[in-house]
Amino acid sequence: MCYMKGGDYVTQELTKANINLYAVLRNLEDLCELDKDMKTLIKNISMKIKFVVKNGPKGYLSFEDGTCTFSKILDKCNIILYFKSPHHFNQMIDGKANPIPLKGLTKISFLKNEFITLTDKLSYYLKPTPSLLENETYLKNNTILTAYTAFFALAQVGNTDPIGKLSAKRIPDGIINVSITESNTGIHLVAKNGHLKAKKGLSSKNRASMTFSDIITTNKILTGQIDTYSCIATQKLQMKGYIPMLDNMNKLLGLVSSYLQ
């Protein structure tokens, strides 16, 4: 199913850049938890990279004590990577352009080695093949990372894409919990006055919830192999609470796929 994006080219590039930073690259923090090799790779690394996109998103990745953390709040950093536009940043994510390093030229080896290994591994998990999905561990990691990408991207689509903004405004204020029963994966989406924020973990103050019964169902729904309505009917996807929140969130989820194609 193809949902229609809103806005002009510039707006669509901005939405995509927001998704690429706040949903796709943000995933490095989960990758370093899920994949033992990646956890080992960053074990002794202390590094903070700032991403600055002119007229676009800003954020930084911090590697410290064997963990990776993404934050929107800018702090002191070792490396600053500058992008002259959202389009430039999107081109970099697609491997078609290079960033402009403003600070940290002496740390460039980290970017050329460990960081490339990390982003390659993230691509490996986010771009599955049928044979890779036969591996249970791969399937699980792919699904969790895809779910994080989708729901963090959903907030960006709701905040930036003109049609997404319409759906976001229709989400009544409150918190939506999204979880995958089999994997202890939880995300909550905070909706307030039409603005959306995605956060990891579940909230005890949620007004609605959407629960995927298992990894395979989650994978199939998020990759468009089965429709949500059939899954609701067969209890593989359970919805509860204030349904107008979920109804409009699901319309945003449909729009996300048109940006991640």
């Binding site: 199913m1 049609i163 609605a208 429709d227 609701i232 509860k240 609470g241 204030y242 319309k251």
Partner: protein
């Protein structure tokens, strides 16, 4: 009290999923119908009679959704079915329509206070869409004022930008106002003096998931005057309320006169047709618009409609259903209160909306409704409910017993209440 199981329902539903998108689509299905949790609800009926339907596992339900409105006299009403059987012998879908079409038009014009003519189609959405076309043809204008949260069917213009299958051009001529906010309507009209063809709304506000709201004093009278002053067609979507508030039309119930009135659900006690009634001033515009369908003039539904409307008049159906609804809902509220639940009832009792207000998520309400369904009282948790004339005092008593036990179960699961 025994709770129901649904083995055969689930078996058939799995089969349906392979044959029909989502198994049962739309408002009767588990997704749009908000079956929460799904395992508490039946998917398929095997038969129906009076106020009840039986599912394919043999479970009997007192049906408070009434097929979302069409069941107004009781399922398989003998008078309606007899009229249908007689007409079947004579003919149904024929090249020259049966004269019963004219008989029914006469009955409708005699019944509905504002009606000078009647036009027939099949579903509510057929006539709401037609009402807009007539308004545009009559005024030469293109914009429509609609109320936020109002439901007028599933045609593209009734949906919203951002919904699958809807593009900007589908809804570009819609202007939205909040219910009961006359000032908003007046402002929009004055800002677009020569652009607005139609104001369309339901007689009172009955959205899903939200308390229903009656019109404030003089709301409709002020809207009527504004529409007249600015040459705007006032179209009332009486598809859901029609003949559950007033046999003369819901505009009559609220003391004003619409230009167009859309009817469907309660017209033929389940036999499928819809009607648009209007004033003489719009008759030319109606005639100018090409609008028709293969089955729209079939005779059998008109026979059902003749019997249904006559019987509703004889019974004073609207009053009967409102009295039954009041008795039912007063009892439900009292029973809820005894367990610490605040069950809020809004709307007109013949098609009331209810929700437990102890939380703001409807979770407690969803749990209570699902317990009621599993014990044989079929409610929906998100939509207004419906009374039919066949509902008996014994049914209401049994519903109160079911509600009582269901409140007890929910209370036990939520000791904090």
């Amino acid at each position: 009290m025994q709770t129901y199981t649904y083995n055969e329902n689930q078996k058939l539903f799995k089969k349906a999923l392979n044959l029909i998108p989502t198994g049962v689509y739309g408002h009767l299905g588990p997704a749009e119908g908000c079956f929460i949790p799904v395992q508490s609800y039946p998917f398929f009926s095997s038969r129906a009679k009076g106020a009840y339907f039986w599912d394919v596992d043999g479970n009997r339900f007192i049906d408070y959704m009434c097929a979302y409105g069409p069941n107004v006299l009781g399922y398989n009403d003998e008078d309606v079915d007899m009229a249908v059987a007689e007409q079947m012998k004579l003919g149904n879908c024929t090249t020259a329509p049966s004269s019963i079409m004219m008989d029914f038009a006469e009955l409708l014009v005699d019944t509905v206070e504002m009606a000078d003519w009647a036009f027939f189609a099949k579903n509510g959405g057929d006539v709401t869409s037609f009402a807009l076309m007539i308004a545009k043809a009559a005024t030469g204008r293109k914009k429509t004022i609609l109320v936020n949260g109002g439901y007028h069917g599933v045609a593209p213009w009734t949906q919203k930008l951002g919904y699958p299958g809807i593009c900007e051009e589908d809804v570009v001529n819609n202007l939205y106002v909040d219910w009961n906010n006359y000032e908003q309507v007046e402002k929009i009209v004055k800002e677009n003096p020569n652009d607005i063809a139609c104001f369309m709304a339901t007689p009172y506000h009955h959205p899903v998931f939200t308390d229903n709201e009656l019109p404030e004093k003089d709301y409709w009278q002020k809207i009527r005057k504004l529409c007249t002053d600015y040459g705007i067609v006032l179209a009332i979507d009486d598809v859901r309320c029609g003949f559950r508030l007033d046999m003369k039309g819901s505009d009559h119930y609220f003391g004003f006169k619409a230009d167009l009135m859309c009817f469907c659900k309660a017209l033929g006690n389940g036999y499928n047709f819809s009607a648009l009634c209007g004033t003489d001033a719009l008759k030319d515009a109606v005639s100018s618009v090409m609008y028709t369908g293969s089955y729209w003039l079939s005779a059998v539904p008109f026979a059902a409609g003749m019997a249904c409307i006559k019987k509703l008049k004889k019974l004073d159906g609207p009053k009967l259903m409102q009295d039954k609804g009041k008795k039912l809902t007063d009892g439900l509220v009292e029973i809820g209160k005894s367990y610490g639940f605040n069950l809020k009832v809004t709307g007109v009792p013949s098609m009331w909306y209810m929700r437990i207000t102890n939380d703001d998520s409807l979770t407690l309400h969803q749990e209570w409704v699902s317990e009621c369904v599993r014990r044989g009282a079929f409610f929906a948790n998100h939509h207004n409910l419906f009374i039919n004339c066949a509902l008996s005092d014994e049914d209401i008593k049994l519903t109160h017993e079911i509600a009582n036990e269901s409140f007890k179960v929910v209370k036990n699961n939520h000791k904090e209440i």
